[in-house]
Amino acid sequence: MKKIELVSEIDLNGLYSWLQHPEAGGIDLFIGSVRNHAHGKSVIKLVFEGYEPMAIHQMNKLADQAIKQWPLKRLLMIHALGSKNIGDPVVVIGVATAHRNDAFEACKFLIDELKNTVPIWKKEHFTDHTVWVNAHP
């Protein structure tokens, strides 16, 4: 069972209950959040923009790849869009498996690939300017 969502606010409560499965002994949950600095400068907030239908489609493809590769009982990928403050959760990846190594591997695969291929863009707001991340070499 998988849950793939783009949301304006990530609510962490209830995610464990959703990931629980009687045959799953290991759950790995990765939570990416807004750091207070980037390239040595102070970040005030981040704004995320997504090409929403393609992002959902690509997240589903990654989920299906992971489900083929590891025996996953539950899989969730949730990404926030819009304006986010320091400490806010931005992305959550969660998997439940019978054995913990599968959970770690699948979770790492999903967040690495999400960052490489899912069409979502992050704009860093500093005190005096803004930057679209990754855009420039």
Binding site: E49, Y51, V90, W121, H136, P137
Partner: protein, 79 residues
């Protein structure tokens, strides 16, 4: 043909979407990329950019036409 824009490409072009006139006879992803770079040379400063056709990343050789959902994808930075 209309090309969806996101992130920095909206700022570079100053537009929400690009209209590509059929007079331009753009038939492949590569031709579209070349036209975009000619019209908006600043796009060449990006690390890279991709074209998505019907929500899939497209190869340069792919033929494109009017009925498809075409998008310009600057380097992604989610997560």
């Amino acid at each position: 043909m209309e090309v969806l824009l996101f992130g920095i490409s909206k700022e570079i072009t100053g537009q929400q979407t690009l209209d590509v006139s059929s007079d331009l006879k753009i038939n492949t992803v590569l031709e579209l990329k070349k036209w975009i770079l000619e019209k908006y040379p600043e796009m060449g400063n990006l690390d890279s950019f991709a074209i998505a056709v019907d929500q899939e990343y497209a190869n340069d050789e792919l033929n494109i036409s009017d009925g498809q959902e075409i998008a310009l994808i600057p380097p992604v930075s989610g997560g």
